[in-house]
Symmetry: C2
Subunit: 473 residues, 2 copies
């Protein structure tokens, strides 16, 4: 059933996207320019993301903290690259109560400075290291063009900030955390992801290097979805974060940071959803199963309650739609909200000792015997849906992954259908900038795969890297 509130994905992808956001009650616009209200369905998704990631972070020894929202201007300015990277897009508080402030405070666009300022006074010896801190919070960047979840002035995220006594350990942490993001995308969000290093031009302001997790949306546009930065001693030198090492010498700490944001909700939509609304992989769906009793016959209600209890008792989140809406309306609502499995229990089915199961991702219907082991059946079906959704997304990505030998070929591909384009690169920023002239196409990451021709697709000189290029959100 087509949802009339939703523009068709193939007609206008951008409109389809915001229609899904609104129709599934994930978020809505507000009176504050560039800022959204995250509604219950959207926030439940974020809570589920938080709970899974937070558990993993803690298993890896990280602890949660909370640093201030406001950063004094002088503190922000201590590290030149960071401030140059972020200054054009921060919001400044200049007045507190009725008084003009002596020093402006910016609302954090990211918290490297605050963590450094904290670590400076809390670390003195190698015995205090590593510090593996993370915080869940809001940040603000004064973006000009915004889009719900993908780019908004305020957004929610987690930012890990760790300091270590050696370069090796810090680099190991940087690698480890991007792998956590990759696992989360592949295994939980069913979004196939590629991990690689950003080029010098595209890395985070102030980082020695940046690792990125890149996903490809249904329309072939890339979404950077999780990054992990190695700072070396850049910030620790700027903010004077030193420790006494085992040889009793003062040394600057080695630092990392890594983050994921509510933009992952945008990724979920743009990879999996369709013209009927949201489609959610079971592992991230806040509600996995909905039972829709076709009428309020006692037998139907009793069976609904029985199945509902069984599933919830076995950690499958299920609810019964008991509202006074029509069954057709309830089906459409379950669809637009992306509930992975719908169970229909109707009088005709019941007469024949049958129940109907409907998959959200494929719309397939299965009419099964009433005496089926419902826990085993649903568990297996949720698994199948999760795997099928991943496979479908991977097939889509593969069909949109291209290889180009020259910049002309890159342009031809991008004019026809955007996607991930592999092309060799010499490492020269000038060549990278030239690619950007094609519709703003950027390097996504340097990948591990072997060179294609051995020559830079842009200048023809010897190539150093096989790079993935693409348009981006």
């Amino acid at each position: 059933m087509k949802n009339n509130a939703i523009t068709s994905r193939n007609v206008d992808f951008a409109k389809w996207y915001t229609d899904v956001v609104m129709a599934a009650h994930l978020a809505s616009y507000t009176s504050v320019k560039g800022c959204i209200a995250i509604e219950p369905n959207g926030y439940a998704l974020w809570e589920k993301m938080q709970s899974i990631l937070d558990k993993k972070f803690k298993e890896l020894g990280h602890e949660n903290v909370q640093m201030p929202l406001l950063i004094p201007e002088t503190l922000l300015k201590k590290e030149g690259e960071l401030v140059n990277g972020f200054a054009p897009e921060v919001a400044w508080v200049t007045q507190g109560g009725s008084k003009k402030l002596e020093e402006r405070l910016c609302i954090r666009p990211t918290s490297e400075t605050m963590f450094c300022d904290y670590y400076k006074t809390h670390v003195s010896s190698y015995r205090d290291l590593p510090k593996l801190y993370n915080q869940w919070c809001n940040v603000l960047r004064w973006e000009k063009e915004t889009r719900p979840f993908l780019r908004s002035r305020e957004f929610l995220w987690q930012e890990g900030h760790t300091i270590h006594s050696s370069m090796e350990e810090a680099i190991d942490e940087t690698n480890k955390m991007i792998e956590v993001y990759k696992w989360f995308h592949n295994d939980i969000l069913a979004i196939p992801s590629i991990v690689g290093k950003k080029t010098e031009k595209e890395k985070f302001a102030g980082a020695e290097f940046t690792l990125t997790n890149e996903a490809l949306m249904y329309n072939g546009v890339a979404l950077q979805s999780g990054t992990s930065h190695y700072f070396g001693q850049k910030f620790s030198k700027a903010y004077d974060v030193k420790f006494l090492n085992k040889n009793n010498n003062l040394e600057y700490v080695y630092q990392t940071s890594w983050g994921t944001t509510t933009r992952m909700i945008g990724g979920l939509i743009m990879v999996h959803s369709d013209d009927k609304g949201l489609v959610l992989p079971p592992k991230i769906a806040p509600k996995q199963v909905v039972i829709i009793p076709i009428n309020d016959n006692e037998k139907i209600i009793d069976l609904s309650e029985e199945i509902n209890k069984k599933l919830n008792d076995n950690n499958i989140t299920c609810y019964i739609d008991k509202s006074d809406k029509s069954p057709g309306f309830k089906f459409a609502e379950a669809e637009v909200n992306g509930i992975p499995i719908r169970i229909e229990i109707g009088p005709r089915d019941l007469e024949n000792n049958k129940i109907t199961f409907v998959r959200r991702d494929t719309s397939e219907k299965y009419v099964e015997d009433i005496n089926i082991d419902v826990i085993e059946y649903i568990t297996k079906l949720l698994d199948t849906i999760q795997n099928d959704m991943y496979k479908k997304a991977l097939d889509r990505r593969n069909s949109l992954t291209f290889t180009a030998k020259t910049i002309k070929e890159m342009e031809e591909i991008l004019n026809k259908q955007p996607g991930f384009i592999h092309a060799d690169w010499c490492g020269d920023e000038e060549c990278e900038t030239k690619v950007k002239e094609i519709k703003g196409c950027k390097s996504r990451c340097i990948c591990d795969e072997p060179l294609i021709t051995g020559k830079c697709a842009i200048c023809g000189k010897d190539a150093k890297y096989n790079v993935i290029w693409g348009l981006q959100y």
Copy 2:
């Protein structure tokens, strides 16, 4: 064992308080005036508070959302009382990126305005009601004098904002939520609390009435710890939030809000803690049991691991202190961090088939047989500690609860020892203001108890209320 980093509670209560905050690594000062960094031990407490309250809110049908951090000035100003109450203490963003903003934005001191603005466009019929929304977030108030957790410019809280189709339902919600806070304080935080109505002078700006949860600290000073407000239609009229009722007439919604904050961490300290550091009731302690092996003898380590596993498998949070510090240092650290039970396993004990259990709250030691059912034993002991801590706090509060017949008696009591003072009041704001001249003593709440003399303790006219008065944080 006295902790040398901590001033004695009876010598300097204020200094003792901040010493405990720092020594237990709950929070530390930052370079941002009036803003703290919440450290891992403090944030773990907040996470535990969040998880228990959030579960309860959801059981009662509430859903979480997230509204914007920034509020445009014109929007804030729509409700006159609210803006008058908060305007002197908000921070203003006047610059975004490199541009001066056309309209100032304030950082939310509370979010009634944003919720109203949202509800206005999302509610049209009685079928859309009630909306039971809550958000966990940071807020900012430009306080002049600050103190970790008790009063800081930025703090973390939850704010529930609900709208209803009738006055009765909204008042019921207001009552229900203050009872949740009372339950949380009494049963989880072991802080005996009194619930009552605030006077007109002390109620929340813009509320019809405010219910408050009041706790008494060890030093006899009161802490307002959770409030629930009934707004009637005040905000819905100011922000034009209407619905079509069952009779097909447009009507303004009936509204509530209710909140608790990280200041509850301050309450936990000031009610329960002592000169050795933090003391935590087991139900809120992020870590309930620590095992300290006296040496690294294999038998000792094996037994430690065995007990640790058993307890964690049975939902008792336990850890082994395996660091290379001395046993004495480990004891002191477990004490300052407020771990409710310490298990010591040493060679001499083991020879005699014994294990030692030490209570943090009373320092009592119990030497028990090694074959004791450790799960049953610990479960019971945690229960005993929880109950004893509540009883101790209640006894302390009772010993600091006084009755006064005249304002002179109130003054005598306050000069000797602050506490909760019951005194009759005529209801006249002038009398209330006179009491404030005694060291800033304010009405805490109007209580249900019968009148004492029947005459106002201040002016001598007929009294209407038995009011609890006291100094406050």
